[in-house]
Subunit: 364 residues, 2 copies
Amino acid sequence: MFRLTRTLNRLKKVSVLHNNVREQSVMTQKLMYTEYGDPMKVLRKHNEEINDNVKPDEVLVRMLAAPINPADINTIEGKYPSKPVLPAIGGGEGVAEVIDVGCEVRNFAVGDRIVPLKPGMGTWRTHAALSHNFVYKVPKNLGIVEAATLTVNPCTAYRMLRDFTSLKPGDCVIQNGANSACGQYVIQICRVWGLSTVNIVRDRENVDELKRSLLDLGGTHVVTESELRKTNLFKSKECPWPKLGLNCVGGQSALELMRNLAPGGTMVTYGGMSKEPVTVPTSALIFKDIKAVGFWMTRWTNEHFDSEDRSEMLEELVTMMTKGEIHGPAFQMVNFKEYERALSTIIGGGGKLGKKIILGFDSC
Amino acid sequence: MFRLTRTLNRLKKVSVLHNNVREQSVMTQKLMYTEYGDPMKVLRKHNEEINDNVKPDEVLVRMLAAPINPADINTIEGKYPSKPVLPAIGGGEGVAEVIDVGCEVRNFAVGDRIVPLKPGMGTWRTHAALSHNFVYKVPKNLGIVEAATLTVNPCTAYRMLRDFTSLKPGDCVIQNGANSACGQYVIQICRVWGLSTVNIVRDRENVDELKRSLLDLGGTHVVTESELRKTNLFKSKECPWPKLGLNCVGGQSALELMRNLAPGGTMVTYGGMSKEPVTVPTSALIFKDIKAVGFWMTRWTNEHFDSEDRSEMLEELVTMMTKGEIHGPAFQMVNFKEYERALSTIIGGGGKLGKKIILGFDSC
């Protein structure tokens, strides 16, 4: 209690709340579902008191921000391959502040910021008691959005650039859906690592504005799908043939991407926005030695939960972020109280606006 | 000359010819083409004297047998990715007998049997002077068909089973086009290595006879494409989910094959008999971690030309063959003089009879 009280004096902003909380109990609000289905129907807000003392190996945290990712929606719908045991709490990512620590916890202190390390821990809640083994400390100067969305998109970009082919400065990466949250991280990390990028976006109105924004992020080339079909970029040797292709679209877009890979190149699929499968010409597989593989961050995380590879990656990403070398996606913050509005925006296709919707807990 | 004469006394059958040859010259007949096109039109038989002494690093050989592979036809048509410089001699594989050796050649002697090591050396000819670095000695007790077809089909089967996934005895391999020449080697090598095989064949008349012959070769299970769709083989745990799939068909057949792969499994494409591409569902790539890759023996051979991996493979295959553990495909021997009949049989679709056509040079 002494540790908490001392810290609360520092954290003026939340001191009243925390004081109330720990003298009686923490009242946590959480978005739960007891059956899979339309999130608008199956998600319910539950109130629950956390009135025990925090357990020896746990940290008690209050959430600061948690995104609504497409995978969160699919999980609640029961359409995602990793199915949580019901009843479950929605949300997979977020950033929280430690407000109390168990007596055995040495590596965290009240006031620290943490992100949950395990997929599907349920972040759409105001407070949580979590094992200190399942959280990762992030520095306080890490942006709130970068912290809240640290464990999925930037990690996906990082791993896809690291794990499938050996890239050295000057090499080229080609990707479609380049303006996706992950695609934007790909552009930025490549820029930091000295890799050039060819970024494919769909033909659309105001495409010049989109191109500008991706070039500003550090993209080397931005082309529409129709421009790619007649590009002279590689034949003219302006750009080396890409050894790595990243595909989150599928269908014709993936095929065009593959056509521009260097012999022996690998296309990594991590999304399928077109809902069409990946089609690979037999001759590309046999004679051009093109490899079509997939990547799923959740599997990687489960398989490398407490690996050195993972801590090295998180450290490197956080460093790039705090140095201002890479930035989180454009976002729209919606108060946790208004979660229904946030969900309906996404389910209604608001995600296509290109802004990540993030639940903010400040005034809950 | 002394070495040759001594050997000729041993090789009674060819002594007169050789005697004539080496006292004057060797008259070689070769099937050449000066432009790409229909083999029936562009291939011409040329006679040429080899009247120099054999060069210091060369072996002079007379061909014994050379298959007509589909790739040989495609090469002459100009439809194959590896295009020989014209004019070129047809044929890529074969077995020959050494009839003279250059003064610097230590590792070959007259009477030895060899197979050419480089793809596209031109084996549709009666005699050839070849660098001793480009030929591989095979034992005389190796069957003539096994020798003549050593460097493509069994090597393809061997490498696909070795290079893409780590298999241990008891593991399962699934393949379509299981009755192809390569497919038959897959069955046999798997049997020797303690791997089980699920062999997919097209629905056809007399399928029971075909199934019987593949089971006799050592196939664990043989199923038609329609049987595969409703099979209980894997769910019942009668057979483990295959970690490796080998595809020489493409299209729907490849898709069905992939559906039965274990999570993390790899499908290697080495042919496309259906002329349809390989289609991979996005979810199989991302969530099931299925990998779609290709294999081309010619590329592997060029990249590993004089590697230890290659000599180890050839030695192991030849040992399996001379021990009678694996056998060459069913074949039909056609005299070299009748090459036009042989070609027209294949181009007319005779290859579908399932018999490899091999040119024999005995009485040329």
